[in-house]
């Protein structure tokens, strides 16, 4: 874990790390990674990963429209919106 890695993952996570905290964070993350590194002592070559404790098939839905028009309710929750759209600072493509 080094400064460059932390810069990359913090950008991917859209988080800013303050300069004065950077050293501690690099250190903490390094310790955590070192701690979880003990997993590598186990031989798992024959083991299938387990993503969810329920080893079942997903239930699915029928193709039916059930949603109501929630426009007003949803736009009300937004930090910035006009009558029709959620708004963000202009994105330049």
């Amino acid at each position: 874990m080094d400064k460059k890695t932390v810069t990359t993952i913090s950008y991917l996570s859209r988080l800013k790390i303050d300069d004065e905290k950077e050293e501690k964070i690099i250190n903490d993350l390094g310790n955590i990674i070192e701690f979880v590194d003990q997993l590598n002592d186990v031989d798992t070559s024959e083991i299938d990963p387990l993503a969810n404790p329920l080893e079942k098939t997903a239930k699915t839905r029928k193709d039916i429209v059930t949603a109501k028009n929630l426009k007003k309710k949803l736009l009300e929750v937004a930090p910035s919106a006009n009558e029709d759209y959620f708004l963000v600072p202009r994105v330049v493509e």
Binding site: S10, R14, L15, I25, N40, L50
Partner: protein, 483 residues
């Protein structure tokens, strides 16, 4: 008449015998909350609506199972029209347009949601010190943490403000605070309780459950919380039993698994002694102790600290200041909007876990960490599957010791993560597990953990209830809180 420290059933009886009105019950709850506001157990109160609902019940008495029962809801469940923060600045002003299935189930059963309890931010913490709304105090000592993440819930129940509360448990967030606050709480089998409307921390581990003073009340609550929910595809289809039915079954001949791989020497001596006394108590009720091996148990904490951060790093991406929640002021462009909002909106522990999650999922590290952890997760689950072939339940201490002092774990994440040593494996394997008070150390409560087989909440509730029939640890109340 007071409802303080009364069970759900007792309050129901008092109401139906007109010893107390619904309104009086609710008024007392709010006066208690007010009296003990230093505990900081609640983030948002629902007083006006609660009183209104109580008045309605007084006018039209109901025979619903939880009619008029005041319940504190963890602030991680969305409640339509009532602020839901998840303990975070980023949701400081979020008023959900819908309610979680758990909330609907409980309210349909007649309960009154009196408020939203404080918690570690996004349920990431074991001491309730990561809440944006300040730490919660353990009623057993004003300098003690209540545990976490369901610390507000545990504190509120332990202080007798409400008879029961909802919690959620991703790595021990119901059981650890239950242990540290001297109450009873159960994390059901993964999939028993719908996750719809529960703000996700780690989707494959999160499970909601009740926290109350007794196993009986937990069973009562669980009956109403569980449902088959089409909105959650990981909600189980299996029959939901009446969890009260087996509470009094005899323990004769039932087998308790004792984990031989567990190194108890690192624990506080008193914890070990209390644990062993409890095992003797169960033996005296006719249960047998059987040694079992869970060889990969020691890897559950590192496994968890790969799986949970990975899932949370993705689950928390939706908090970006665009569609809901907080947005930072004065941003010049979209990138800054994202970065500033998320940096100001999330606290340190949440950020730390998001970063770890991004790291273990990033190109080049996925196999070494994420895939590896998923493989070890299977090994841990296999261990449990094997063990449960010959036993009914597994018992361990819930925590390594009683409640610790606020700030005492410093800022060392790993020390804090190890708090969940005994509890995490049940989440990884999806098994039901509970904690109940089984002793005191220097006037601080401590809990016993009972882990059950897949879908077998009834048996662990049975063990817990029988224990509470024979002992009175669950009746202890903190000093200074007594009337």
């Amino acid at each position: 008449m007071t409802i303080k420290y009364k069970s759900i059933k007792e309050i129901k009886n008092m109401i139906s015998h007109k010893e107390i009105s619904n309104k009086e019950v609710i008024q007392e709850v709010f006066s208690l909350i007010n009296q003990f506001q230093d505990l900081n157990a609640f983030i948002t109160l629902n007083e006006e609506n609660s009183i209104k609902k109580a008045e309605e019940l007084d006018n039209n008495p109901s025979d619903l199972p939880l009619a008029g029962i005041p319940i504190a809801q963890k602030d991680l469940f969305c409640t339509e029209g009532l602020r839901t923060t998840c303990g975070s600045n980023i949701l400081n002003n979020f008023i959900p347009p819908y309610s979680a299935t758990v909330i609907e189930n409980l309210e349909n059963a007649g309960c009154i949601s009196v408020g939203k309890t404080n918690m570690d931010e996004f349920a990431m913490g074991s001491s309730n010190e990561t809440s944006f709304f300040g730490n919660v105090i353990n009623p057993w000592g004003k300098d003690l943490v209540p545990g976490g993440s369901s610390g507000g819930a545990a504190s509120a129940v332990a202080a007798g403000l409400v008879p029961a509360a909802t919690g959620t448990d991703t790595g021990g967030s119901i059981r650890q605070p239950a242990s540290l606050c001297g109450i009873t709480g159960i994390k059901p089998t993964y999939g028993r309780v719908s996750r719809w409307g529960m703000i996700a921390f780690a989707s494959s581990l999160d499970q909601a459950g009740p926290m109350a003073r007794t196993a009986e009340d937990c069973a009562f609550m669980l009956n109403e919380m569980c449902s088959h929910d089409e909105k959650d595809t990981t909600s189980l289809d299996n029959d939901i039993p009446d969890f009260e039915e087996n509470l009094n079954s005899s323990l004769k001949g039932k087998k308790i698994g004792i984990v031989s791989d567990l190194d108890l020497s690192s624990l506080n001596n008193d914890v070990v002694e209390i644990y062993q006394n409890s095992l003797k108590e169960f033996e005296s009720m006719g249960a047998e102790l059987v040694d079992i091996s869970l060889p990969h148990l020691s890897l559950s904490v590192p496994t968890y600290y790969v799986v949970a951060p990975a899932e949370c790093s993705s689950n928390l991406s939706r908090f970006d200041g665009v569609k809901f929640g907080m947005r930072s002021e004065d941003v010049k462009d979209l990138e800054e909007l994202y970065i500033k909002t998320r940096s100001e909106g999330f606290g340190n522990e949440v950020k730390r876990r998001i970063l770890i999650g991004s790291y273990v999922l990033s190109a080049g590290y996925y196999d070494a960490y994420y895939k590896k952890a998923q493989q070890v997760r299977r090994l841990i689950k296999n261990d449990f599957d094997n063990a449960f072939k010959k036993i009914d339940v597994i018992m361990t201490p819930t925590t390594r010791g009683p409640a610790f002092k606020i700030g005492s774990k410093g800022d060392d994440p790993i020390q804090m993560y190890l708090e969940d040593l005994f509890t995490i494996s049940a989440n990884l394997a999806g098994l039901p597990a509970m904690s109940l008070p089984n002793g005191n150390i220097e006037n601080k409560p401590i809990g016993l953990q009972i882990i059950g087989n897949f879908l077998d909440e009834s048996t662990i509730l049975n063990f817990a209830h029988m224990f509470q029939n024979e002992t009175n640890w669950h009746m202890y109340t903190p000093e200074g809180i007594k009337q």
